[in-house]
């Protein structure tokens, strides 16, 4: 594993507080130059809360000056978390007003539900899962109010039917990802997204109670995020995998049952193995045994390498997505949305072919 400077130390911080971890902190405080590098990596990876806790607990050696700097980093990061949580309350109040089901994803949800102390899990934006129609409605409402989206929609209706998420900078200045699914590319398209609203676990924020995915759903999402993330893996996502790994036998069985239904066993296996390697952590042996026995579909064996950061291209993921979308009409619509762009002035031959394919798909089947 090639690592930037300071990353080996950041891995120790990321693993802090996990039981049975083999990574060890250095015996003495770092030299000033090394410490400054670590500060940068910790801030970049959003590990400030873990660093502060480890320093105060004596789990990471620090000079008085370094300890003060660690607490200052934690304070600044926590300021951001609270401001984001205030924005989350506004966003979810709007969703409640619309009567749309939703689930809070990642940062705030796992911080409050899965970590012994919410300050151990940092985050830098908000992620909310909503059904496709609500996503479209909210997106239009926010855009009309002046929000800016990060990437244009490839084709009208794409966000509602196929996107993983839409990233919007709201007029408040905060970034919110409205999710339709939990992963980009074929894994996200194969996911039965309606099922994500069947269960929930709630957490308290201020005087409100907000729904998140249930624990199994949060673990599987953590695996998606760690294994399939766009910019390679990040330490908090890897830590989430270890933090949420199922220990209870019943939960292990349910996790793998759902992973099979979502065609995501390969993703779980990759994420668990990544967490073990990066954090020096050992997954529960019973879970590893069950995971090894779980069948991995041939198509997901093909899909997984497409996500590796060194060889990843959006074209390859999109193409594999055609295989993941179920139903001929949806496959054609998905393929069509990839070649027909909203901003197309002319119509490319590929677009004409896709339109023709769509027209054919709409015809009623001929009687034989």
């Amino acid at each position: 594993m090639t690592q930037p400077p300071g990353f080996a130390h950041a891995r120790v911080i990321a693993a802090w507080g996990l039981p049975g971890v083999q990574l060890r902190a250095p015996g003495d405080p770092l030299e000033p130059g090394e410490w400054r590098v670590l500060e940068r990596v910790v801030a970049d990876q959003r590990l400030e809360g873990l660093l502060g806790a480890a320093v105060v607990d004596g789990g990471w050696p620090a000079t008085d000056e370094q300890a003060e700097a660690a607490l200052d980093l934690t304070h600044r990061a926590a300021t951001l978390w609270l401001l984001l949580e205030r924005e989350l309350l506004a966003v979810t109040a709007e969703l409640e007003q619309l009567g749309a089901p939703f689930r809070v994803l990642k940062g705030p949800a796992v911080a409050h539900l899965d970590y012994p102390d919410p300050s151990w899990r940092g985050f830098g934006d908000l992620d909310v899962l909503v059904p496709g129609r609500a996503l479209e409605h909210l997106r239009d409402r926010w855009l009309a109010a002046g929000a800016v989206r990060a990437y244009p929609e490839p084709r009208s209706g794409f966000d509602r039917r196929f996107t993983k998420s839409v990233s919007l900078r709201r007029t408040t200045g905060w970034d919110v990802d409205l999710h339709r699914s939990l992963a980009p590319g074929p894994f996200g398209l194969a996911l039965p997204v309606d099922e994500l609203f069947d269960t929930a676990e709630h957490f308290e924020l201020c005087d409100r109670t907000l729904p998140a995915l249930d624990r199994v759903g949060r673990f599987l999402h953590a695996c998606f995020h760690a294994s399939l993330g766009q910019a390679g893996w990040r330490l908090p996502a890897v830590r989430d995998v270890a933090q949420l790994a199922p220990r209870d036998p019943l939960e292990q069985v349910e996790t793998l049952r759902r992973a099979q239904r979502w065609d995501a066993v390969a993703v779980v296996a990759a994420a668990v193995s990544l967490a073990e390697e990066v954090l020096g952590w050992s997954a529960p042996t019973t879970f590893v045994a069950r995971l090894r026995a779980a069948p991995i579909s041939a198509r997901t064996r093909r899909w997984l390498p497409l996500y590796r950061s060194t060889t990843r291209t959006s074209a390859a993921l999109s193409l594999a997505g055609v295989e993941a979308v179920s139903g001929l009409r949806d496959k054609l619509a998905y393929a069509g949305s990839l070649v027909l762009r909203n901003d197309d002035g002319g119509v490319a031959p590929a677009a004409r072919r896709a339109r023709r394919a769509l027209a054919l798909a709409r015809r009623p089947p001929r009687a034989t």
């Binding site: 809360g49 934690t74 304070h75 926590a78 300021t79 978390w81 300050s119 924020l205 201020c206």
Partner: protein, 103 residues
């Protein structure tokens, strides 16, 4: 007063005002204090030292004397001294809409 005598004029411990956390506050416990943000506030405020314990005992309406008594017992300190230190802190928290007073 414990011996039944009247408190001296201006004695903060005699004030019957009861203080309680506002319901509209986000919080995060940090290794060196507690960070609080009122939903209608500008910036989070870090309350260090016994801040987390103060926030904990503000979970229900209490007078300054009650708060000072609880914190004094916790830190083995004189309640009168604690009350004198606590009064301006409570006023600051109230000004930041983090705590409210109830009748």
């Amino acid at each position: 007063m414990a011996d039944g005598s009247l408190p001296p004029p201006g004695d903060p411990l005699a004030d019957g005002t009861r203080w309680v956390r506002s319901a509209q506050v986000l919080e995060r416990l940090l290794p060196h204090g507690i960070l609080l943000l009122a939903l209608d506030g500008d910036e989070p405020i870090l309350v260090t030292g016994p801040g987390p314990d103060l926030w904990h005992v503000l979970d229900e309406p209490r007078t300054l004397a009650e708060l000072a008594g609880l914190l004094g017992a916790r830190y083995d300190a004189d309640a009168d001294v604690v009350a004198r230190d606590l009064a301006p802190v409570l006023e600051r928290l109230e000004a930041s809409r983090l705590v409210t007073t109830v009748a």
